[in-house]
């Protein structure tokens, strides 16, 4: 088996260096595919590997010896090349063309021998071109023609076959036809194949060894599953993408991401009676969220639970559902689904949820999860008395949160605030169960230690929860609340232009809001997530354009800041007073939580996520852009660098 290597190879045309000190071992008996952006030097590399181009530095080693030290004919007996665009002479038949591949095996005066004839027949057999033998090459289809050329290179009977963009100008079926033939040759005859290809997905599918070239250097090389990552695609092609397993071949599949400004078409589709939002039963609809929030907000909200119905006797014990706005619901985890590396969705259900809800769309509704401590819950009458059927009096409930806080955390566990991603009553089209169910999306952030994700209690719970695990949560009492419920902050009033902005912790709320918006609303939804894999689908009937910003190595919040500045421009001088500086809030000590009141302004913004970023955006929108603070909701869901407890 012949070996081919490049060692410190430098290639240049007229002193312009194309390939720079590149070293590469072509794995013998495998299919190697070289990919890269236009002009990265991949074809130049192939020319050098096939002795067509003399290196400016370094060597190409064929069977360990410099390829230029060998006679051209000797090389041609070991190494075949199909150049990018060979020309077939007028009227030549396939057999005649293929026969020309025998040149290196023929002497100066030797006639075409029986051995040559046999080689030509074999080559035609292997490429399925025997039936085309007598046809003029210029009358063949693109795929057939390319197979004939491959047959010509095969008639050379070499151990190595190099192909330069063999699929260029072919339609997709013919591309596969050509690559199938080549990979078949490799599998059946053990020919070492090197292909330069520009289609990354086909390369990932057919390569045993994938080489990604960038600016004349190898950026990554190895098995496609190692090489084809979002990072590589971004670096080599300068294009953000998602990489998912190819449902057909199991190899990585690259889905390019443009600017994702596509959702406006929803309204166009809706006009034709098509609703993509009507997802099939039990398919993940979109992402939801999790947020972990400071206890001060929890405390403030906990008071709502004790706002008993005014007229009732404060000492009369009655079922909690009759007088408490906030109830505790005992639920069970029904399903757990990894949406992306950063998001995990838990679907919980239970009979208690019959009393859950606000009789309106949940929007960005917050609920409290009571996360069990390590050892599991101890007896906890404070929470038990909040369950819908618990007999309790309003007076009993006063100060329950302080009493709960006083319990040792090792017994009571932790309380964390999340937003509801979706709520489905029993009988809802997508709810197969007999009780209502809730989707809650957890943002998983933390470190993986010994194969287990180490993070806050919510992250760990979200990561490890299994179907059947119990989950206690606090939420609105359906009997006593409506869409003015205090756990919902999205109050656009009559606004027709809306900006929704947030990081991954706000993504579930933004997605839920998007699904509720009517068609006459326009604006922007800007969602910053860690990686391209965290881009999750969402649907909206509105004219909101949804833009997912993938952070990568950028600073948290920086992409979001730029995008909000792009979406909300500073008005021209004199239009508004733009110097009103909002009072400073120390986001490390206080909660940044300002929610506007319902009003009739045409513009409304909803900004949530990391408190520092939210604060900066608040400063920009209020001071620089001069937007009335009543038109904007600013919610610091969490603070970077601050311990959750």
């Amino acid at each position: 088996m012949a070996t081919l290597q490049a060692s410190g190879l430098t290639l240049a045309y007229d002193k312009v260096t194309i390939v720079d000190e590149l070293s590469l071992d072509i794995p013998a008996g495998q299919v190697s595919i070289v990919v890269g952006a236009n002009g990265c030097g991949k074809s130049t590399l192939l020319r050098a590997l096939s002795r067509l181009l003399k290196p400016a530095g370094g060597q190409v080693l064929l069977d360990g010896a410099d390829i230029h030290s060998k006679p051209a004919k000797e090389v041609a007996k070991t190494l075949g090349l199909l150049p990018q665009s060979p020309t077939a002479p007028d009227g030549i038949t396939s057999r005649e063309l293929i026969s020309r591949g025998r040149y290196p095996h023929q002497g100066l005066f030797k006639r075409f021998s029986a051995e040559d004839e046999a080689a030509v027949n074999r080559a035609m057999e292997l490429t399925g071109t025997a039936g085309l033998a007598d046809r003029p090459v210029d009358e063949l289809s693109g795929g057939q023609r390319q197979r004939v050329w491959i047959a010509m290179a095969l008639a050379q009977e070499t151990d190595l076959l190099l192909l330069d963009e063999p699929t260029t100008f072919l339609d997709v079926a013919h591309q596969l036809e050509v690559l199938d033939v080549v990979s078949e040759l490799n599998r059946t005859r053990g020919i070492t194949v090197v292909i330069v290809l520009h289609d990354l997905n086909l390369a990932a599918r057919y390569a045993d060894y994938l080489v990604a070239l960038k600016d004349g250097k190898i950026y990554a090389a190895g098995h496609p599953t190692e090489v084809v990552t979002e990072k590589t695609v971004k670096a080599v092609f300068g294009m953000p993408s998602r990489v998912i397993p190819d449902p057909v071949a199991g190899t990585p599949l690259v889905l390019p991401i443009g600017r994702q400004r596509v959702l406006r078409t929803e309204s166009v589709l809706a006009a034709n009676g098509i609703f993509r939002g009507d997802a099939p039963v039990n398919e993940p609809r979109a992402l939801a969220e999790g947020l972990e929030q400071d206890s001060a907000v929890i405390e403030e909200e906990a008071q709502a639970a004790t706002r008993a119905v005014a007229e009732a006797d404060p000492n009369l014990a009655r079922p909690a559902r009759e007088h408490l706005q906030t109830l505790a619901f005992q639920t069970t985890v029904l399903r757990s689904q990894q949406l992306s590396p950063s998001f995990r969705r838990l679907t919980v259900g239970g009979a208690d949820l019959e009393d859950f809800g606000t009789n309106s769309h949940p929007l960005d509704m917050r609920i409290k999860l009571l996360l069990p401590p390590e050892a599991g819950f101890g007896p906890n009458s404070e929470i038990a008395s909040l369950r819908p059927d618990a007999l309790t009096s309003p007076a009993e409930q006063l100060g329950w949160y302080q009493r709960w806080l006083a319990i040792d955390p090792a017994q009571r566990g932790y309380m964390r605030t999340y937003t509801v991603r979706a709520f489905r009553e029993a009988g809802h089209r997508d709810n197969l169960g007999t009780t209502p169910e809730l989707d809650i999306d957890f943002v998983l952030h933390g470190k993986v230690v010994d194969g287990r994700l180490q993070g806050g209690p919510a992250t760990e719970f979200g990561d490890r929860a299994q179907p059947g695990d119990p989950l206690l949560l606090l939420g609105p009492n359906k009997a006593l609340t409506d869409d003015s419920y205090g756990g919902i902050e999205f109050r656009p009033g009559a606004a027709s232009r809306i900006v929704l902005a947030g990081d991954e912790t706000a993504a579930p709320a933004i997605c839920a809001i998007l699904e509720s918006l009517p068609a006459n609303v326009t604006g922007h939804a800007l969602i910053e997530v860690p990686e391209t894999t965290d881009i999750l689908g969402t649907t909206t009937r509105s004219g909101i354009s949804v833009q997912w910003l993938t952070r990568g190595t950028a600073e948290h919040g920086s992409l979001l800041r730029d995008a909000v500045r792009g979406a909300v421009a500073i008005p021209g001088a004199g239009v508004v007073q733009t110097t009103a500086d909002p009072e400073d809030i120390n986001v490390d000590e206080d909660i940044l939580w300002e929610t506007g009141q319902a009003q009739s302004a045409p513009f409304y913004a909803w900004i949530a996520g990391e408190a520092g970023t939210v604060k900066e955006l608040r400063r920009y929108l209020v001071r620089d852009a001069g937007i009335d603070r009543k038109q904007v909701a600013f919610m610091g869901y969490w603070r970077r660098g601050k311990q959750e407890n």
């Binding site: 020319r47 002479p89 020309r100 040149y103 004839e117």
Partner: protein, 352 residues
């Protein structure tokens, strides 16, 4: 015949089938006809032309006898003319076909791309300036043709070397050389200039056995030693330079050898007969039309020979009193054909 039948049928080594077989059959038939036309015209020229010679005397002369008058006309005029014409036509035809097939363009014949003018200019300069008039003229013509080929090649080599670039460069060089030839003629004494002019239109009138020998040796050497190699390499070169190199061909050497051979085969006849207009240009496309396939180089040689012999017959017999230079006839027939090629090239999109 179905594809399956074709693929299962045993294929005899070296024997083309189907399309290829029909094509080689057409080439053989065309060659046969061409040869017949050549011989018939030659016979007509000998026996039947103006100043008709008695058949029995001609046969006696051909049999080796010496017949006053007839012997002279036949042996010193008509036969050398035929031999020189056929040889020159064959050389020009092969030369043109090589260029045309290599560059894949019928316009790429040496008389269009200026190589012919290079040979002419060198020969004229040698005649006028150095008074050369023997076999050395061939060397000058060859040197001139090669020099022009080298210049054109160098001009078209910047960037991608394509047929159309080479043709355009050749046209420009050709125009310059024509100006040079005109200048040389104006600088010359009238009698010499007149001879040179006659030579320039392409004429067989100065044919002698000695010149036929020069032609025969020169063309024979190129045709026997170089042409077989060039034809073999051409089969690879026409696949594209990368494909040819991948098959183990030294593309650079092969190119130089091809240009040298083609220029030699074109320039040696020019030195003897002058530039016979359009013979190199016509022969190749005629073979392509006859075989309904690519240009056939050896057949183009035979075609070139036939063209010149036929043109010679017409030149001698078209008008009662005037003996036209043969180049006038080839030019008169060739020009309309050039127009036809241009029109056809435009419609098929492979024009220069």
């Amino acid at each position: 015949m179905s594809a399956i039948e074709q693929s299962t049928r045993r294929h005899e080594p070296g024997r083309p089938t189907g399309v290829a077989a029909r094509r080689s059959a057409r080439v053989r038939i065309a060659a046969l006809w061409m040869l017949l036309v050549l011989l018939a015209t030659a016979a007509a020229y000998i026996f039947w032309g103006r100043d008709r010679l008695p058949v029995d005397e001609v046969l006696q002369v051909l049999g080796g006898a010496s017949v006053p008058g007839t012997s002279f006309i036949l042996m010193e005029d008509r036969l050398p003319r035929l031999v020189v014409g056929a040889l020159a036509g064959a050389g020009l035809g092969i030369s043109g076909a090589l260029f045309q097939r290599w560059l894949g363009n019928p316009l790429a014949s040496p008389d269009v791309i200026g190589v012919g003018f290079g040979a002419s200019a060198a020969a004229i300069a040698a005649m006028i300036v150095f008074g050369v008039n023997d076999w050395k003229l061939s060397a000058f013509a060859l040197a001139g043709g090669l020099a022009v080929a080298a210049v054109i090649y160098w001009l078209s080599a910047s960037g991608q070397r394509t047929g159309s670039r080479l043709i355009l460069a050749g046209l420009a060089i050709g125009a310059m050389l024509q100006a040079l030839i005109q200048f040389l003629l104006t600088q010359t004494e009238v009698n010499t200039a007149s001879d040179a002019m006659r030579w320039l239109t392409g004429s067989l009138s100065a044919s002698t056995w000695e010149r036929a020998a020069v032609l025969g040796i020169g063309l024979g050497a190129a045709g026997i030693f170089l042409l077989p190699v060039v034809l073999r390499q051409l089969k690879l070169l026409e696949l594209g330079e990368d494909a040819a190199a991948a098959l183990g061909l030294h593309v650079g050497r092969a190119r130089v050898l091809l240009v040298f051979t083609a220029v030699a085969l074109g320039a040696i006849p020019i030195a003897v007969t002058g530039p016979l207009a359009f013979v190199a240009f016509l022969a190749g496309p005629i073979t392509a039309a006859l075989s309904r396939s690519a240009i056939h180089v050896p057949l183009a040689g035979l075609t070139g020979a036939t063209l010149v012999v036929v043109a010679n017959f017409f030149a001698a017999n078209l008008f009662a009193q005037i003996n036209l230079p043969v180049g006038v006839i080839t030019g008169a027939f060739g020009a309309p054909f050039l127009i036809w090629v241009l029109v056809r090239a435009n419609s098929t999109g492979n024009g220069g």
